[in-house]
Symmetry: C2
Subunit: 419 residues, 2 copies
């Protein structure tokens, strides 16, 4: 397949006013930018997105734990804000609110991750904005949603993981509830939000009307976990926390190798038959203790011990090679240095240098592309994340035709930052 950059990108011409900060909202904004939208990130004068001060920092000397000069920007902000523009604007001042409302007619989507009620206090809630612009798409990403007893609670990823059963389902059977090691709430909610925004854009083309899109981290993680009827597990006292075992299959676990761990997933009967041959125990296929998946689950500790006896003296590479040669699903467990050196990761071409708006590529730091590939569209090639307020003057001049005098007055009032 050959790529056709001239086709453009899916959200070319779409303008987003992005009021979000921290993680879930800005991550959604970064996806919108990767799809070609013009994402105008609106930040607090003088401070900006709270995540700008999250270590580690991209500095003129590489990634560092400490922030020593104002140009040092959180590395996550550089990833999450690629391709966006940044303006400063104090929405709590009437002049700032007016600028936001003046920009609104030129926008297609407002994205925010305020707690419920904040947008109303600011005077920019959906009900108000849709009166001014009936085809507006307004997307709210929250921890708990716009309804329900926890709607005003503070929500961080770990709290949501704890309340949705993700932590209850993660960890060793005899150990405590454990968080998934990725920010699964912060990263999954923006994917749902993207789908909701894309759906609303499609509906707008049909109806000419806007839409309110509501996504909560709580709903998203419950949805992901509740893939099976959880009441059945509860009623039958089936433990969600099963280490690396899978409740319905055996052998399906991690196993020690001489240099780390591997995962083997024998989800089908023929996998088990091949495992028995591989580990030099072909007679086990006929053994009634292991003859069916149900029987193996009844004797899961023995089954795992049989596999482990074979893996423990071999390297990950040997185990994986022999399993894959026998069509037994298997992979190494990569610790961080393994992942960074992984030839598949390199071959996928997913890593791009982490760019600083002033210092360019930061040595020894990469960020990952939006991981959807197209046959005809090249991967996104976004501009570096902006400095705080980098585009304030340009956008006020170009979009609102403000004069230099008007801009200077806004700076004097503290509504926007000066250059």
């Amino acid at each position: 397949m050959s790529l056709h950059p001239a086709r453009g990108r899916p959200l070319d011409g779409i303008v987003i006013l992005d009021l979000s900060q921290a993680a879930a909202g800005p991550i959604c904004g970064s996806y919108l930018a990767a799809m070609g939208a013009e994402v105008i990130k609106i930040e607090r004068p003088g401070y900006g997105d709270m995540a700008r001060r999250t270590p580690p920092y991209a500095t003129a000397h590489g990634i560092r734990a400490q922030r020593t000069v104002p140009e040092d920007i959180s590395s996550v902000v550089l990833k999450r804000n690629r391709g966006k523009k940044s303006i400063t604007l104090d929405l709590q001042k009437p002049e700032g609110l007016k600028i936001f409302l003046d920009l609104l007619p030129q926008a297609d989507v407002v994205l925010e991750n305020f707690r419920p009620g904040v947008s109303t206090k600011l005077g920019i809630d959906y009900e108000r904005l849709i009166e001014l612009k009936p085809d507006l798409i307004y997307c709210s990403i929250t921890g708990f949603g716009m309804s329900g007893p926890y709607k005003t609670w503070s929500a961080f990823d770990t709290i949501i993981q704890g309340m949705t059963g993700v932590m209850a389902a993660t960890g060793q059977p005899d150990g405590p509830p454990t968080k998934a090691g990725l920010l699964v709430g912060d990263t999954v909610a923006p994917l749902y939000a993207m789908i909701g925004i894309m759906a609303a854009l499609r509906m707008r083309e049909r109806t000419g009307l806007g839409e309110f899109v509501e996504v909560s981290m709580f709903d998203c993680l419950v949805s992901m976990l509740w893939d099976e009827p959880l009441e059945y597990f509860a009623a039958n006292d089936i433990r969600m926390r099963s280490g690396n075992r899978f409740l319905r299959m055996a052998p399906w676990n991690s196993y020690p190798a001489s240099d780390g761990h591997v995962v083997i997933c024998a989800g089908q009967q023929d996998h088990w038959i091949r495992v028995c041959k591989l580990i030099g125990r072909p007679e086990l296929v006929e053994d009634p203790r292991y003859a069916s998946m149900e029987a193996r689950l009844d004797h899961v500790a023995e089954v795992d011990a049989l596999v482990e006896a074979w893996t423990a003296t071999r390297t990950r590479a040997e185990i994986v090679e022999r399993c894959q040669a026998d069509s037994i699903p298997c992979g190494p467990i990569s610790e961080l240095p393994d992942l960074i050196a992984d030839p598949h990761l390199q071959a996928r071409g997913l890593l791009k240098p982490l760019m600083h708006p002033l210092h360019g590529a930061i040595p020894g730091a990469h960020a990952v592309d939006f991981p959807v590939r197209y046959g005809n569209m090249p991967p996104p090639d976004p501009a570096p994340a902006p400095m705080l307020g980098q585009h304030t003057v340009a956008i006020l001049q170009e979009r609102l035709k403000l004069s230099r005098e008007q801009i200077d007055k806004l700076v004097a009032l503290g509504v926007i930052d000066g250059e």
Copy 2:
């Protein structure tokens, strides 16, 4: 806000030929159906999607561990196939391939999760289909993608978690790599695929051309984990596996309560000041060991012990109430029965009875709605998942105008199942 069902749904009129089975593909298909698309699930005669035989099963007597009659269907299949139609079709027989190619002009999207190479062997790869239908959108969901050294490897969720660093980042610092307790690869890849399909549909409207959309579980999970420059962690020997601690904040952890655990996330300085007051130790605010986030991270074990001394004698409910009253981010860790009884979950209205196509609502079993809410569009109200091949005859008659005689011949040839 009032709902406007008459507006229709975003993918009304879009037809999907869904060749996928197991998890990631069918989950994507279920989202397409929730958006209004007509999703025609194409299954192997006599057997169907392998996931139909995954316990636990929805039966006439509720959810059961064993499958005793053909009408017993895996509970996950009932969730993942809501709103779809099912036809059986043997694509390895020329008559089956012909039917697929005859259906193609009436479709907008082909969705599959074959391993690379399988679609070519079947004669239905993108390159062939796009010649027959230049505006086709073809979405491939795989474990490792269409390129790179692992592209033909078997991929199950746990293997992908192990190879992408998710397991390396999950678990106790002194414990083994641990899988996240949700099928994060299986559930995240279809979200990216949905975004890719929606983007391709938008591009098709502009260009009239189709698109190949490629999503791999490997790429998706690397993208989620690589939110920070991981090379920096590796170079500085920073452990990814941190139990429930967060690398950059303290106190931010789970803490024992008298009746379980809570999570407290004091991500900002003022959170810490309020924590000190709450636990009756206001003098700690001035203590240089804890005065800044950096200092607290340097003494993180002591900080956690101070918090735990206060939480351990109190119930989850008391801790959460007092933290929330003081604007300290906090939540209970819900074990499975807590989640099922959670009043917020009930208030969100996300749970729907799990429906069996023959038996109706299965007592004591729920499935979760697609968790994007709209201000003007009601939640999806899909038909129950279909029995294997439930719509074969209807679709061949309606879409291809096949006669009863032609259908009987296909049954006799084993190309489709009889009624």
